[in-house]
């Protein structure tokens, strides 16, 4: 018990002093997860919006496939990306294995389905509510999509932040693709796993505190912004 309390106290000190090792790990984590969110949103938002706004033959199958992608463990994504980026793999020439770029690829593959699934659900709800009105406004496909996305903009903010939280808190994919190399590819989650295994609970706990803090802050800010904006838009 004392050991745990001591580790926690040292971890808090590390966080308050903003230790250089801790800071560099946090910085790289934010860069990788932020980039993954950017590319994941670039893929997921349009895909989800189109799926939510349209009805076509086989749509149910596509939606089921998308939902099932949410359940794919991050280590499986890591293995697939590893195979793609390894020297013998089809994308080996990029040299992205054990590099932050490869980690971004892996996390993008985790974020995109989540953003797409939430976007699809939110846009579909708006389409059901507004379908007849949009038809009578004679909006073309792109205009219709634009109107639906505009209508759902606050809920889509939450989709983006959920995507970031998914990226920042996963460990399997970045461990496999990045290799957890100190100063190069070591991010918060992989560092926590390693330091815990080594028995150095201080850094692991400090990183855990920062990670939880970041995810909680983002969630709180996103929820607050969403509620505020919704109140202003809906009254």
């Amino acid at each position: 018990m004392n050991h745990a309390l001591e580790a926690l106290s040292q971890a808090l000190t590390l966080v308050v002093r903003w230790d250089e090792t801790l800071a560099s790990i946090v910085r790289l984590s934010l860069e990788v997860s932020g980039s993954a969110l950017f590319f994941g949103a670039l893929l997921g938002l349009p895909l989800g919006a189109v799926l939510g706004a349209t009805q076509f033959r086989g749509r149910g199958l596509v939606v089921a496939l998308l939902q099932s992608l949410l359940g794919v463990p991050s280590v499986v994504v890591g293995v697939v990306v590893f195979l793609l980026l390894s020297r013998a793999g089809p994308l080996g020439f990029l040299g992205w294995l054990y590099d932050p770029a490869g980690m971004v690829v892996a996390q993008t593959l985790l974020v995109a389905p989540l953003v797409a699934a939430i976007t699809r659900q939110v846009v579909e709800g708006a389409r059901e509510r507004l379908a007849e009105e949009l038809t009578m406004m004679r909006l073309g496909f792109a205009e219709r999509l634009f109107a639906l996305i505009y209508d759902c903009r606050f809920s889509l903010l939450l989709a983006l932040f959920s995507g970031f939280a998914r990226a920042a808190s996963e460990v399997g994919a970045v461990m496999i693709v990045g290799g957890n190399i100190e100063g190069m590819t070591r991010v918060m989650t992989t560092a926590i796993a390693l330091e815990t295994a080594k028995g150095d609970l201080t850094l692991a706990l400090a990183l855990g505190i920062v990670l939880v803090g970041i995810v909680a802050t983002i969630h709180l800010v996103a929820s607050g912004l969403e509620a505020l904006a919704r109140r202003r838009a809906e009254g």
């Binding site: 007849e132 009578m136 406004m137 004679r138 205009e143 505009y150 209508d151 903009r153 919704r230 838009a233």
Partner: protein, 241 residues
């Protein structure tokens, strides 16, 4: 592409086996306001949606100016209109997106329409914050923006207080004066008498009667219409059996 005449030919809906509307034939032409009357479940709103092109008939055909696809110059306003989670002006901005013309002209038209429906001062407020009457006026503004040839109104004053009803009725009359052909469903006999030039009375999924409004209320031809008017009018104003 011309909207009128709209020809509804032998239409059944939702199915030919158990139709709400059965083998219904109707032509919308000319000008003025037509009120569709009938009891609950008579198929008034369904008929309006079929004419709007929002639904396809199970049997029969609907054509617009001879074409089988609904043209752009039709607008339909729902009993409970829906809006984007956006300001009043932004909702009209989206409605103006597919309209032809330059944006400077569209902006002027949006401002003019907002002025006409009395919502100019609320242009920047959220549309979802408007009262029932204001929402209905915004829905009319959204339709008016397109200057449609045919406007279909589904119970435009349902659940509105007398003041809001009067404001909506004034707008409907203004729209009619601007040359828009209007077809509306209503439960209010007095409203049909005030606004419409012609009444279409639906009973048992068919048009039981289509007559000028004055004639409809003075001497309804069908038994169903007589019964309907009797049930809706106060005892001191009842027609003889």
């Amino acid at each position: 592409m011309a909207v009128l005449p709209v020809d509804v030919q032998g239409v059944s809906w939702p199915s030919e086996a158990q139709p709400v509307l059965r083998n219904l034939t109707w032509r919308i032409a000319g000008d003025g306001i037509t009120a569709i009357l009938g009891e609950n479940g008579a198929g008034k709103s369904s008929l309006l949606r079929l004419v709007a092109g929002l639904m396809r008939p199970a049997g029969g055909t609907v054509t617009w100016g001879g074409a089988t696809t609904p043209p752009a110059a039709i607008r339909w306003v729902a009993q409970q209109p829906q809006f984007l989670r956006a300001s009043v002006a932004t909702n009209l901005w989206f409605a103006a997106l597919p309209l032809p013309g330059r944006w400077s002209a569209k902006r002027k038209r949006i401002a003019a329409v907002l002025e006409r429906v009395g919502l100019a001062e609320r242009a920047n407020e959220p549309a979802l914050r408007l009262s029932g009457g204001e929402r209905q006026r915004l829905a009319l503004a959204r339709a008016w923006l397109a200057q449609p040839e045919l406007l279909l109104l589904d119970e435009p004053t349902a659940n509105l207080d007398p003041g809001a009803t009067a404001a909506v009725e004034r707008l409907i009359q203004e729209m009619r004066s601007s040359g828009i052909r209007i077809v509306m469903t209503t439960h209010h006999l007095a409203q049909a008498a005030r606004l419409s030039d012609e009444v279409v009375f639906l009973a048992d999924g068919e048009i039981a009667e289509q007559t000028p409004t004055r004639q409809f209320f003075a001497a309804p031809k069908s038994v169903a219409a007589r019964r309907f008017i009797r049930s809706e009018t106060p005892w001191w104003f009842r027609l003889p059996e």
